[in-house]
Amino acid sequence: MTSLKRSVDTDPFASNLSSKVYVRSTKNGKVQKIVREVYLRQDIPCSSRLCSKCIATAPRSAAGNVSPFVLSDKPAGTKAFPQGHYLVPDTNALLNAMDLFEQGSAFFDVVILQTVLEELRNRSLPLYNRLIGLTKSQEKRFYVFFNEFRLETYVNREVDESINDRNDRAVRHAVKWYNDHLGQTKSKDVPVTVMLSDDRGNLEKAKQDKVPAIRLRDYVSGLKDAERLLDMIAESQERVASKEKKAEFLYPEYFSLSKMMTGVKSGMLHQGIFNVSPYNYLEGSIKVPAFPKPLLILGRDNINRSVDGDVVVVEVLPQDQWKEPSTKIIEEEAITKNENADNDEDAADVVTEKERRALQEQVKKTQGLTTEGRPQPTAKVVGVIKRNWRQYVGHVDPSTVSQTARQGRKQESVFLIPMDKKIPKIRIRTRQAGELLGKRILVTIDSWDREHRNPVGHFVRSLGELETKAAETEALLLEYDVQYRPFPKTVLDCLPSEGHDWKVPTSTDDPGWKDREDLRGLLICSIDPIGCQDIDDALHARPLPNGNYEVGVHIADVSHFVKPANAMDTEASIRGTTVYLVDKRIDMLPMLLGTDLCSLKPYVERYAFSVLWELSPSADIVDVRFTKSVIKSREAFSYEQAQLRIDDASQQDDLTAGMRTLLMLSKKLKQKRMDAGALSLSSPEVKVQMESETSDPIDVKTKELLDTNSLVEEFMLLANISVARKIYDAFPQTAILRRHGAPPKTNFDELANQLKVKRGLELRFDSSKALADSLDACADTSEPFFNTLVRIMATRCMMSAEYFCAGTQSYPEFRHYGLASEIYTHFTSPIRRYADLVAHRQLAAAIDYEAMHPAVRARGRLEAVCKNINVRHRNAQLAGRASVAYYVGQSLKGRVAEEDAFVMRIFSNGFVVLVPPLRHRGPHPPARPRRPGARERLRRRELHPAPLRRLRRAVELFQKVRVRIRDVKDEATGKRGAKMELVAPAA
């Protein structure tokens, strides 16, 4: 008989083989055992430049490359470790103070252990990703040491040892090994390898084992700049030690996860994203699949520690607690102005008297008024599935800073007032309160426990003085999550090595010319705003012998320079879009490409992607084709120049003739579009909000749009639509398209109702055509602005357009409501939008120019790209608007003005007005680079909280009123804002 059993000692690998056993439960509740092999080895290097032993056995990649050793041979020292030190943080240290590790001034030469990395990944994926990002940075010198795979540092879990204890032991063991290992080198000043921890138990055990270890806080105290750095350690860990006294709970407890899950499954509870009303910080709403209208969440108790954007689970309240949406404007600063950050724990109840009164009044009101507005279902938050906390920008509330702290170094709690009104005040503990006053600062939220009224966070970084350009701009960029750092070297390495000297190869045999059409002979020109540098598009038109016209739109061939999946492409896909602020442009692609090599500048040859139509004289498409090409633009016009040239009858050259043809055709195209029901939202403000879907900007000084604006716009729309059809034909699953959903009918109910009651006008909204027509009819001859007002309000009822992957929607859903087109995409601005770049690649594959790169073909990946660029696009718009608002606000400083305004919304204690263009107000903001992200003519809505019971009856919706606008800085909170006062209801 032979036995299958093998004896362990005959196996040469036995000592180096271990296995990990996990037990996990599967989705259907079964328990499953997982066994994984672990191969232990001795050739994992320590990666210290001091070490000569490890370099000999350093691993090589398949290509034979050895990765260079990371840890410096002369690491920085501190008082405690004068000979220099390598840091080994444990998991808690990273969890609590990742911001510290990202500092540029300290924390170099850090060894991240595999044990720690694995634990961190289980605890927090975002932190894990940040850490991985750190290990890739060259300056920081972070090294990941795979201690679990090295024979000497591998630790077996002992009987009765918890997994955490085992991991802590593994960390200590690895630190010990590092010290022993480096001790063998011949160098005189061997750096100490120090464990950084926050866990008291772990530190004590390290002391027993004589492993160098230090508390994170003690270590940071020994650094220069300690005060600033100390503030960045998360708040949570402090409390564990210091405050285990009786905890008084202010908020109801959350349900357990399993309870929430079963509740959601059975339909008793509902899950959704929590949104805070912009007018009232105590009112939130949540859209859940089970109800057509959002559920209301009123009051602190019911909101129960959720922050705008969190994914929460709610329970619907009994019907007798249903209410109308608030009719009141409630701002947090006004109500909680005098709260003291330090006294937080003493507060007996979560809802202060004032807050209660504010809410109470409202309840009374709703009960009296049941005929007019039906009460809506309300709900309370019972748990949070996922926090959506990010870093917040704000400023310290000066009233919460004590006098002593302004000079001293005492640690105290202060409130931070976030820029975003929807975010509650954040309590932070700091020793540098005095210095932080009057600064824009960046903080994160660490936690929000039941015993705290406000969330607790910590200081990350100061951006600079309040109301200085640099600080406010950076604050804006951070708040809207715009990537504004300079392009890293890896990205710049992807640029052509010739730099600005790059030229289209003269020889047509060059590979760059492969399958390109030579269109250099065509009379092509570009029309853009004055001073435009990144010229995306150029046009031409010429008559054909058969009486038709050949029209071409030529788009910068960005995909020639940005190859899929390289560093530059990855960066661009993250940025998603170029962001235009008043005084700054944050590019999606490096300058060299955007303003030079890709830009279709006049008089030079450039690569382009051309769409060529044959159009009949009535602007019907006879034929369309797409080709990569080489063009030479004859002239770069501004809109005005182009208009002048067209109007100048003495100009009879072919180029001008071509432009006149284009203009003639564009008018016909526009008419067709209007007939099909495209919405014309004539006011520029609305145009931006609606996003006119063209690449042409509205010049800031143009009061009326010139014909040439719409000329460019029409052909860009035509190109986008033609391309959308083509790529959808070729790739019905993966084509990247853009849709604009029809707005739900209920959105218009209120507006239509009000129009009817107040003005006797009818708003029809069954189709985009009907809406367009009835909007035209909504005019008041005595008040030209009335029409614009209605359009603005109608626009607010609409959905926003979005990018999507063709396979995710059915064909009827592709429709672009605003443009009344069945299918649409973005193709014409690849320099500033990533979606266009993807469309370029897909089109290139569709015409068999090049094979489609897998990254552009994988649907999952494309969906992720769409999701990202939708967010980025929205953020870019918001950032642009906020930037204009800031500049106009600055120009208003210290002035008082009286203005006509229109009432947009009425609350019981105030109303919202729209002040038409503040154009003549003060100096213009400096000329912006290009493409105003938001209108110059600012829409200002401000509140009017003055007690005006007497006047209230006199004010009604759409009414024109006269208001006095003053710029006021609230001395208590240091917040600047425009205050409005009603002067008189204007005639």
Binding site: M1, T2, L4, R6, D11, F13, L17, K20, Y22, R24, T26, Q32, K33, I34, V35, R36, E37, V38, Y39, L40, R41, I44, P59, R60, S61, A62, A63, S67, Q114, L117, E118, R121, N122, I132, T135, V144, F145, F146, E148, F149, P564, A565, H853, P854, A855, R857, A858, G860, R861
Partner: protein, 292 residues
């Protein structure tokens, strides 16, 4: 849970601590079932398979109906059929289609997450056909006219590279059964360190993947003839860039050589043991090659 395959770049270490070109621990035995004509047991890491050979026996006509996936070598019925059946978790996938149609069977797995992936009957049939065809071309089946070589493979536990392990085990068992063959038919998997859509040009090839790697990365199974680079089996079911394919195939071929040396060593040790224990007469032709 441990890290995933994306951390390879950090220190050129795979999820289980191996380098890119290292095989898992191999362990094999032959003649494990004294009653069978040939038998073997093989472990590649946690993938454990057993093989039992019946035949060659001269009753091809009658038995053919039972054979699950049979491959006939060129030459028609004058050569032996190779019939392969694979058993996963005690359920035999052979012949009777109505029994197994559309059913999914779970292997008795210790491999990471592998038991989530269920074994479809069609999948097993595909494996059977692949193995049968490859072996029929390698074995000297023309020496056994009108016979059948029955190969029964048992998957005891699965942790990646299953097809490769099955082929290697079958080869060993056929050596034990004394069926003449051109050379060892050995197989190994190879993958690439980044996913298809990542489009990373600097990706390293990997050999001998475990389940986790198979689930996260593109991979192929390559079978070669002994020490040569002659490819007998090539199965690739994931998407991978053409540019990476060459590197993957080259490293798989190298790994196959390693597997071949290992199998050869197992055979020689067993032979040596049989000679010393007197199971084979001294001077019998079989002993000639041993100890050379």
């Amino acid at each position: 849970m441990p890290l995933d395959t994306s951390t390879y770049d950090l220190a050129l270490l795979r999820v289980d601590g191996r380098r890119w070109n290292e095989l898992r621990r191999l362990h094999a035995q032959i003649r494990t079932q004294a009653a069978a004509d040939g038998s073997s047991y093989l472990e590649m890491g946690n993938t454990k398979v057993m093989c039992v050979i019946t035949g060659p026996s001269e009753d091809a006509g009658k038995r053919r109906g039972l054979a699950a996936s049979a491959a006939t070598a060129p030459g028609g019925s004058s050569a032996a059929d190779v019939a392969v059946s694979i058993v996963v978790g005690g359920v035999q996938f052979c012949g009777s289609e109505e029994e197994g149609q559309g059913r999914q069977l779970q292997p008795p797995s210790v491999g990471a997450r592998s038991s989530f992936r269920l074994f479809k009957v069609e999948r097993i049939q595909e494996l059977q056909a692949t193995i049968a065809k490859a072996l029929a071309a390698n074995l000297h089946v023309h020496l056994y006219p009108r016979s059948t070589i029955g190969i029964s493979l048992h998957v005891l536990s699965q942790d990646g590279s299953l097809l490769a392990a099955l082929i290697n085990a079958a080869t060993l068992a056929l050596v034990d059964a004394g069926v003449p063959m051109t050379d060892y038919l050995v197989a190994c998997t190879a993958g690439s360190t980044s996913t298809h859509s990542a489009g990373d040009e600097g990706a390293d090839p990997l050999v001998d993947l475990n389940t986790q790697e198979e689930q996260e990365l593109p991979f192929l199974t390559l079978g070669t003839l002994g020490a040569t680079d002659k490819v007998a089996v090539l199965v690739c079911e994931t998407r991978v860039q053409v540019s990476r394919l060459e590197g993957m195939m080259a490293s798989a071929a190298d790994a196959c050589k390693g597997v071949r040396n290992f199998l050869d060593q197992v055979v020689r040790e067993k032979g040596h043991k049989m000679v010393t224990e007197g199971a084979v007469e001294k001077g019998a032709s079989m002993a000639m090659d041993i100890d050379i």
